[in-house]
């Protein structure tokens, strides 16, 4: 068996492959639903209704999509340059820590000054956190996959230490949680009385900005060149290591914004369950979007919809909500397979 490059597919074919991947994912999920003793059609209908069937559901889906847009962008940027940042989870938490450190009264300023300051410091913290593995990669040849993965565990223990130590809320009845951020550090809600907050707008703006950087700037071109073929890029005079550093800073900064927006926009304080794996899910979001920053918005809303819908479905149909995680993981694998099949033809001889 061998693979042969295909001519660039037309629009219909380009759309057919991802749709095929989603169909395959639904088929596999149906099988699991049957095993769990429920009807697939009923379950998928409930998931759809739970994700988009009412204003409440839609708002909830967009709220859940917000951190996923940030982590999805972080992964998309890094993977473009083949910098395997699997540490978005850690960068998210460091961004959240920064938000709490500056936002709980340490700095007194009006919202218009305080929020940008916190955002910048959070991004800087996340950027520096990924700079470490990037330097280890370029200077010492240490694989960044393992270092970023291990840093996730280190950072979460570090956050746990802070929440039981210097950042602990004295009024928290002993729970490991931080104080709430002051009113000036909170992001406004987009709709009165609903959970959707200004972080969603920042996420969309970030996606557009990332798209511009990737498509319209020299840096974006260099990133893609490094990702495509680092040797050729070096030969063409592109400073590969410096491009990787800059990519790491951008990627880490974007992931940290997820932590910032969850604390300043939604939760108000930092706890150890701030992120149910948004950093890892960001990898799926980025791959579903084929690493396109604007696609990340769509992919994040899609993935968030599955999670929110599955929660609602689980309450009424009794199928465990872990079906959402299975679907998301399956979608990742079917999607990368579909992308490959859209570019290559399998010859069996």
């Amino acid at each position: 068996m061998r693979l042969e490059a295909k001519p660039a597919p037309g629009l219909a074919a380009t759309l057919a492959y991802p749709l095929g991947a989603i169909l395959a994912t639904l088929l596999i999920a149906s099988l699991l639903v049957l095993i769990a003793g429920a009807s697939p059609f009923n379950v998928f209908w409930l998931v759809l209704k739970g994700a988009a069937g009412s204003q409440f559901a839609l708002v909830e889906t967009l709220t859940r999509a917000t951190p996923l847009i940030f982590t999805g962008l972080a992964v998309a940027v890094a993977f473009r340059a083949k910098l395997w940042n699997i540490g978005a989870e850690a960068q998210l938490y460091i961004g959240a820590v920064m938000t709490v450190v500056l936002g709980t009264g340490a700095v007194a300023a009006p919202s218009l000054a305080l929020i940008p300051l916190i955002m910048m410091c959070a991004m800087l913290a996340g950027a520096l956190l990924l700079l470490g593995p990037a330097i280890l990669k370029t200077r010492f040849g240490v694989d960044e996959v393992v270092t970023t993965l291990l840093l996730n565990f280190i950072v979460i223990l570090f956050v746990s230490m802070l929440l039981e130590g210097p950042l602990k809320d004295p009024m928290g009845l002993g729970w490991p949680q931080s104080k709430r951020v002051v009113a000036e550090a909170q992001l406004p809600r987009l709709i009165q009385g609903k959970r959707l907050h200004f972080g969603f707008v920042i996420a969309i703006v970030s996606a557009v900005a990332t798209w511009v950087i990737l498509k319209k700037t020299v840096f974006g071109y260099e990133m893609r060149a490094v990702g495509h073929n680092a040797e050729a890029a070096r030969f063409a005079g592109i400073p590969v290591n410096r491009v990787l550093m800059k990519t790491a800073l951008l990627s880490g900064g974007l992931a940290a914004l997820a932590g910032f927006s969850e604390v300043a926009g939604l939760k108000g304080n930092l706890t150890l369950d701030l992120s149910p794996g948004y950093g890892y899910t960001g990898i799926v979001v980025a791959m579903l979007a084929m690493l396109n920053p604007l696609g990340v918005i769509v992919a994040a809303i899609f993935v968030a919809g599955i999670f929110v819908g599955a929660d609602a479905m689980s309450r009424s149909a009794g199928v465990p909500s872990y079906i959402a995680q299975v679907m998301v993981a399956t979608a990742l694998l079917t999607m990368v397979t579909a992308i490959m099949l859209s570019r290559f033809r399998i010859r069996w001889r």
Partner: protein
């Protein structure tokens, strides 16, 4: 100094060898995959699936060795998936591996909830018991640590010997090493690179799953969510640290486990002056430091992460 007295405690060495066992299985598994040229980041999820599969088999009435077998087969199944996606289809080994981890983990949690919908705390099984080897287990300090462990721990050492022997002394093992270094040369011998690589990934994944099963069937007696807790990622570091050699990787795993057992005891000795999280961080920090230490002279298998296409140069 109490901190040094720990080293003379029998219980410390017993714990070190026990903690090393799952790492040894999984490290050997990852080593086989990487020697064949395939990075397997599915390790964390495959260990989770193995831990669950072995445990639920015993809980459902199977005997312990059947549980180990079911765990191995579960691992091999995920290995087959990883192998097919990365070898003939040539998909990114990073992305596919992370996908396998996400899939294996979520499928395990889903199955757990479907199989045991009502339970609040996971049921316990009767795990493997230590087998004292007559005579040898009486030796002070070393005896109980090495010769009074469960059969699965003994199996871990047998696996290291078998893997080392196979990789260096059998045609199959030499083929595995060769596809990781120079696949075109292997194909020229009329051997299928695809088959060797998929086979190696399946065998390696089976070992990872047994490593996971060790936790639920020997070290503990129950299955908990997130019980693998990064052990898989540490094993990937151990493979690099052991420069892809079974013997060195074994030494690395034991050193690492000794350190892990030591930090738990040091935590008790220091009596809460230092936050416990610092101690829990140490194994992960140590893994990163070990990687930095060996990075300069690491000799990766040459074809690691390079997909092979027949007829391509």
């Amino acid at each position: 100094m109490e901190a040094f007295e720990i080293l003379w405690q029998t219980s410390f060495w017993v714990a070190a060898i026990r903690i090393a066992s799952p790492l040894i299985f999984a490290t050997m598994g990852e080593l086989i995959c990487e020697r064949a040229g395939v990075l397997n980041l599915g390790i964390e999820g495959i260990m989770t699936a193995g831990a669950f599969a072995g445990w639920i088999t015993v809980y459902a009435g199977g005997d312990l060795w059947t549980g180990v077998l079911v765990a191995a087969l579960t691992g091999a199944a995920f290995g087959l998936l990883h192998g097919v996606l990365t070898v003939p289809l040539g998909l990114s080994q990073h992305v596919t591996g992370i996908g396998i981890t996400l899939l294996a983990t979520s499928l395990t949690y889903f199955t757990y909830r479907v199989a045991l919908p009502e339970v609040t705390s996971p049921p316990k099984i009767e795990p493997f018991q230590p087998w004292a080897i007559p005579g040898l287990s009486e030796i002070p300090l070393v005896g109980p640590a090495l010769f009074n462990q469960t059969p699965l721990t003994y199996l871990a050492y047998v696996v290291v010997a078998v893997v080392a022997w196979m990789l260096y002394r059998t045609p199959a093992g030499i083929a595995v090493r060769a596809v990781g270094e120079n696949p075109a040369a292997v194909e020229a011998q009329g051997i299928s690179v695809t088959m060797i690589r998929i086979g190696a990934v399946m065998a390696g994944s089976a070992l990872m799953a047994i490593g996971g099963a060790f936790l639920t069937m020997s070290a503990f007696n129950s299955f908990f969510f997130e019980m693998i807790n990064g052990r898989g990622w540490i094993c990937i570091a151990l493979v690099v640290f052991g420069s892809w050699r079974p013997g060195k990787a074994l030494v690395g795993a034991i050193l690492f486990a000794a350190f892990d057992a030591y930090q738990v005891r040091l935590q008790q000795v220091t009596g809460g002056v230092i936050p416990y999280q610092i101690f829990l961080m140490m194994p992960y920090v140590l893994s990163i430091l070990a990687l930095i230490a060996v990075a300069r002279r690491a000799t990766y298998p040459k074809a690691l992460m390079v997909p092979y296409q027949k007829g391509e140069r």
